[in-house]
């Protein structure tokens, strides 16, 4: 598919929900990315708002901590003139014994048009989507998916490599490095990047980047130094100690940086951190990404995170446009369905 064709080949957007990217046709991803692109200039206007979702209500239903994603969705909704209610600490009613679908149904009954859901359990957003009729956007469910992150990363790759016309990423090689197995960001990334034509290489120790990931359509490598020089994008992931189960985390600060997945943090860093030294192996034009929050000095050295190859802050800016597009398209589809 040539880039100029793909604009005409964009698919219509029939979905009330955005739950995941696995199995989504590339044409639908391009529809959303193209809409996001058309939204990207709203923040440069004298009035930084468009009235597309005026009178609509978006509820952030976060059962798991998040600042950046919640703020990004809130700003996205506000740029489209929607009202936003924040149910951070939504776990409170669950701790009183309410099920999450009861919580969601109750909030929908108050006249909400979209639910933005984050939960530590994989499949939580899909479950909620089954009991409500309003739009549902998955803002991260366990180790499963974080679709808007996958799309904003695809947008950022396209921007960094001059592929905004058509969002065709073919010929690009993207490394996802670190704690791939715990990462919903990685799963959504693999789905988005491969659908749009890029080649994805997951890199990490066998405990964090097991061969089984190959079933998602990517390559798996354990030697970062051997592949870094052939990649156009290096996406560094945080080590999610909190998801490594027994023997990791805990209250002791030292234990919070230990994991059964590798012998020591020092050894992990030596093999898989993007240090200044290792960053010199990057080929010209290659860019560095990170979904945040960064553990500076662990997976990513501060001078690299702040260096000329870093597009980390572009990811944040693009996230706003992508989330505006997701809200706009899903709320429109839900409005049509109930009309």
């Amino acid at each position: 598919m040539s880039p100029s064709d793909s604009v005409d080949l964009d698919a219509p957007w029939p979905h009330r929900c955005l739950l995941g990217l696995q199995g989504m046709p590339a044409a639908e991803m391009r529809t959303l990315l193209n809409v996001a692109r058309s939204f990207s200039d709203i923040s440069t206007r004298s009035v930084k708002k468009a009235p597309a979702l005026r009178g609509k209500v978006v509820a952030n239903l976060f059962f798991e901590d998040s600042t950046r994603t919640r703020v990004s969705f809130t700003l996205a909704a506000q740029r489209l003139s929607a009202d936003v209610v924040d149910l951070a600490g939504a776990g409170s009613s669950v701790s009183k014994g309410e099920t999450i679908d009861d919580t969601a149904a109750n909030i929908e009954a108050m006249g909400v048009d979209a639910l933005v859901v984050r939960h530590k359990a994989s499949g939580a957003a899909a479950m909620i989507a089954g009991v409500v009729r309003c739009a549902v956007i998955n803002a991260g469910d366990g180790r499963h998916e974080h679709p808007t992150q996958g799309l904003l990363d695809a947008y950022t790759v396209a921007e960094a490599h001059g592929r905004l016309d058509g969002f065709d990423l073919s010929g690009l090689r993207i490394a996802i490095v670190g704690d791939v197995v715990s990462s919903r960001v990685a799963r959504s990334n693999i789905a988005a990047m491969t659908a749009l034509g890029a080649e994805v290489v997951c890199v990490g120790p066998p405990t964090l980047a097991p061969r089984s990931l190959e079933s998602l359509g990517c390559r798996v490598e354990h030697d970062f130094d051997a592949v870094i020089g052939e990649c156009d994008v290096v996406n560094m992931l945080r080590i999610q100690f909190e998801r490594h189960g027994e023997g990791s985390g805990g209250r002791d600060p030292a234990a919070q940086r230990a994991s059964p997945a590798f012998p020591s943090l020092r050894e992990y860093r030596q093999m898989y951190a993007l240090t200044e030294e290792r960053a010199r192996l990057l080929k010209p034009g290659a860019v560095v990404m990170h979904p945040g929050p960064i553990n500076r000095g662990v997976e990513l050295a501060a001078p690299v995170a702040d260096g000329p190859r870093s597009v980390i802050l572009r990811q944040v800016s693009n996230g706003l446009a992508v989330r505006m597009a997701a809200l706009y398209l899903c709320v429109s589809a839900a409005a049509r369905a109930s009309a």
Binding site: W13, P14, S38, F39, K49, Y328, A335, R336, A339
Partner: protein, 171 residues
């Protein structure tokens, strides 16, 4: 097909619109043209050429329409492109056809989000009578009142392969 204007006639109508605009605005030196996508932007570009005006923009009004459920599943939010400040300018909104007036209303709302022009005017190639909102065109190429089973088709180069205005059966 009922031919209303061929290429030569369309060209004459555009030049005539340009004359109306020139003599109808208070300060022609501060003129700027903004066309409504798709085809109003083509009209604006053609008027800009004829009048020697460099500040020509285009807007996509999808996000400013008054009913989200009418947007249709074919999500196509075009780019709005106004590469100049509209502050204190004589802005002429250009559209190929005015009918209900709702797109013009959406266009006015959107343009005001970019700044505060000194004056806003409206130029259309074809004026139809079916207004649903009290909005009127200041500069008009031709007035047409098609029958209930008919529609007006405007074709403009380079968006289309020829310049033509015609009335055709609906459907």
């Amino acid at each position: 097909m009922k031919l209303i204007a061929d290429a030569a006639e369309v060209d004459r109508l555009i030049r005539q619109l340009a004359d109306q605009i020139r003599s109808g605005v208070k300060d022609p030196r501060r003129l700027a043209l903004i066309g409504i996508r798709r085809r109003g932007d083509v009209l604006a570009a053609r008027l800009g050429e004829v009048m020697g005006i460099a500040d020509v923009g285009s807007i996509d009004i999808t996000l400013y329409r008054d009913d989200l459920s009418e947007t249709g599943p074919m999500a196509r939010v075009g780019k709005t492109h106004i590469p100049f400040s509209i502050q204190g300018r004589e802005v002429v909104i250009c559209d190929d056809v005015i009918m209900t007036g709702r797109s013009v209303l959406a266009a006015i709302r959107e343009i005001l989000d970019f700044g505060r022009p000194a004056r806003l005017h409206l130029a259309v190639l074809v004026e139809r009578p079916e207004r649903e909102i009290p909005i009127h065109a200041d500069f008009v190429g031709v007035k047409l009142a098609p029958g209930p089973g008919e529609k007006v088709d405007v074709r403009l180069v380079p968006q289309d392969d020829i310049d033509q205005i015609s009335i055709n059966p609906r459907g």
